[in-house]
């Protein structure tokens, strides 16, 4: 996972650099929200690209979620207006406003606990599976059966955690005004390497 994190970090910086170049807008000149969107989009693309470069040992084959993220990012960049919203978030990132669903599920669980029949349990699993499809990039694809979805989920969770770790480390490095922070950043990226 260490190699994956390094690749992710390198991809992140390259992606941010490319983004500021093509947008003809230096990072410091962006608004807070624009910069945040740029960072978040780049982080997702960086994660997907880093995953594609690794042999799919975890799930015995190529994971599908990276392709879904990259496809969504490519689609959004072609319809991208300079300085506009990064659309990849809609498909690659989860929709958080599912409070309604959650409330329904809570009520349903209490009802089902009383019933506890096999058929009911299967229905609940199915509902949960549908919810899971929405947060896994590419999970809604018809071609992904339950078994594939579960394997994708495990693979995605592991690499998503690594993405969080990298972003946390980068935040800490930027925040610290110490020499160690600079060394950390320089260690992972060689601007001449491409």
């Amino acid at each position: 996972m260490a190699a994956f994190k390094q690749d992710l970090f390198r991809n992140l910086l390259l992606g941010l650099r490319a983004r500021t170049t093509e947008a003809a807008c230096p990072f410091d000149a962006m608004s807070l929200q624009e910069r945040k969107r740029a960072i978040k989009c780049s982080a997702d693309v960086a994660m997907a690209a880093a995953r594609r470069g690794v042999a799919g040992a975890a799930i015995g084959g190529r994971a599908r979620w990276p392709k879904a993220i990259l496809a969504a990012a490519a689609a959004s960049s072609s319809s991208h207006s300079p300085g506009g919203t990064c659309k990849v978030r809609k498909s690659a990132c989860c929709k958080r406003r599912v409070a309604r669903r959650r409330v329904d599920a809570k009520r349903t669980i209490r009802g089902y606990a009383a019933a506890a029949s096999c058929d009911v349990a299967r229905r609940l699993v199915r509902r949960r599976t549908m919810a899971l499809r929405k947060v896994i990039p590419g999970g809604s694809a018809a071609a992904m059966d339950e078994a594939a979805l579960l394997r994708e989920t495990m693979d995605y969770v592991v690499h998503l955690r690594a993405q969080v770790d990298v972003l946390r480390a980068v935040s800490a490095a930027v925040q610290r005004s110490t020499f160690l922070g600079y060394i950390f950043v320089l260690h992972f990226v060689d601007p001449m390497k491409d």
Binding site: A43, C94, V135, A147, P191
Partner: protein
Amino acid sequence: MSSGRRGRISDDEINEFISKLQALLPESSRRRNASRSSASKLLKETCAYIKSLHREVDDLSERLSGLMSTMDNDSPQAEIIRSLLR
């Protein structure tokens, strides 16, 4: 790469998934009676965990964005970030 029937997942695969996923989920959500964790509960926890990770990515992106804006433009730090992104 075949792995069981298409579409419907077998009980064996579910059990395998349950144990693997329990290992992945954060310590706080592990139940004491782990063996009785139903598939649906596990899926629900997994979904919640993924969403919380997404939120964290969002927060960290926002923090990074903020840090870059409050960085003193003349500091060596800012220059390094700028040179990396040029």
